[in-house]
């Protein structure tokens, strides 16, 4: 094999290329399922302070949920996408306007006349969640641990969110 773009005398064989393609195809396979998630989260229990800390945080904000979120976001801003970081980009970057928009939070474009439902019957949970609940809770609580989400008891959420 040789030409203007490839070195003459390449040692790559057809078998090498076939092996590479097989590796690529194998990497896209997925053998995991609910059983592996259950095993992954086996023995996980939620530390109670996750909730008590966030409840205390809401109380400290006079139960003003939006103010609590804004305060948390402001505290994290230096290490995340923020106005100062966007300002470092080239002034002719075509995405500047939308990036500045994202700094303030994502624009949702919600359905007209949106009415939130407020709560959901407990019996209505997804069956798959019931199966892998510990895994879901463990993953979500890792996000809470990074201070990127809050946990609240249902009654507090219904009254103050």
């Amino acid at each position: 094999v040789g030409g203007s773009l490839f070195s003459v005398g390449s040692q790559t064989t057809e078998a090498d290329l076939r092996e590479l393609l097989k590796e690529a195809a194998d990497s896209a396979k997925d053998d995991y399922g609910p059983e592996s998630a259950v095993a992954w989260a086996e023995g996980y229990t939620s530390p109670p302070e996750y909730v008590t800390n966030d409840v205390a945080c809401l109380e400290a904000s006079q139960r003003d949920f939006e103010a609590m979120v804004q305060q948390r976001l402001d505290g994290m801003a230096p290490g995340r996408l923020n106005g100062e970081r966007v300002a470092r980009l080239k002034p002719n970057d075509p995405e500047l306007t939308l990036l500045i928009d994202l700094v303030g939070g994502m624009e949702l474009r919600l359905p007209e006349g949106l009415k939130t439902n407020g709560m959901m019957p407990r019996t209505d949970r997804r069956p798959i969640y019931e199966t892998v609940a510990f895994a879901v809770n463990k993953m979500l609580r890792a996000i809470v641990d990074q201070r990127l989400a809050f946990l609240q008891p249902l009654d507090m959420a219904q009254r103050h969110v």
């Binding site: 997925d30 939006e66 948390r72 959901m120 209505d124 997804r126 969640y129 809770n137």
Partner: protein, 189 residues
């Protein structure tokens, strides 16, 4: 309030959590209309093809030879870079966080300040970041890059590899690059 949901994820025995935002008792915020509105606002997503990647390498090489006739093919590097928890790299507005409330077991409610998998507008919003990074890389490094949401693949000369990472962390923060899924040593073309 949406239902907690779960799905498989390649290479992750844990799978990944989802908010089931198209299956709620009140007004759904995940609909074809909201997905289309997000795409109209933030721009359509165009996943790169293998052809695009091949053309990326070829176009970079042709432009490099014009700039420097002594440029050497063997000095080019193909790299790939993944972002860490990409959907957590920007946030919802405080007044919108409650719309993504998710009921868990034990009567607990999860309230994410950052994007969640399951919200149909998230990929389109993230693509803004992707396009900005792609543009900055092209501008700063004269590198060619293709990007699909948080997956970046590019070509540049060996001496510019580290700067590609710096451009991402400068915009998104110091922990934004998933180093375990990133290869910035570059494969020789």
């Amino acid at each position: 309030m949406c239902k907690a949901h779960w799905t498989v994820k390649k290479g992750k025995p844990s799978g990944r959590p989802l908010g089931d935002l198209s299956n709620v008792d009140g007004t759904k915020i995940n609909t074809d209309a909201t997905a289309a509105a997000a795409a109209a606002y933030y721009g359509e997503i165009k996943p790169p093809t293998i052809d695009d990647i091949a053309v990326m390498v070829y176009d970079f090489w042709r432009a490099a030879k014009v700039r420097n006739p002594l440029a050497r093919w063997e000095d080019m590097r193909i790299w790939k870079m993944d972002l860490q928890g990409p959907y957590t790299l920007f946030s919802f507005r405080p007044e919108d966080v409650g719309l993504f409330a998710m009921l868990l077991g034990d009567d607990l409610v999860y309230l994410p300040m950052v994007n969640i998998s399951g919200w149909s507008g998230t990929p389109a919003a993230f693509q803004v970041v992707s396009r900005a990074i792609t543009w900055e890389l092209r501008y700063a490094l004269q590198s060619s890059t293709v990007m699909y949401v948080d997956d970046m693949m590019g070509v540049c000369f060996a001496e510019d590899l580290a700067r590609a990472r710096d451009i991402c962390t400068s915009l998104l923060g110091p922990g934004s690059v998933a180093d375990d899924k990133t290869d910035l040593h570059g494969g020789k073309t």
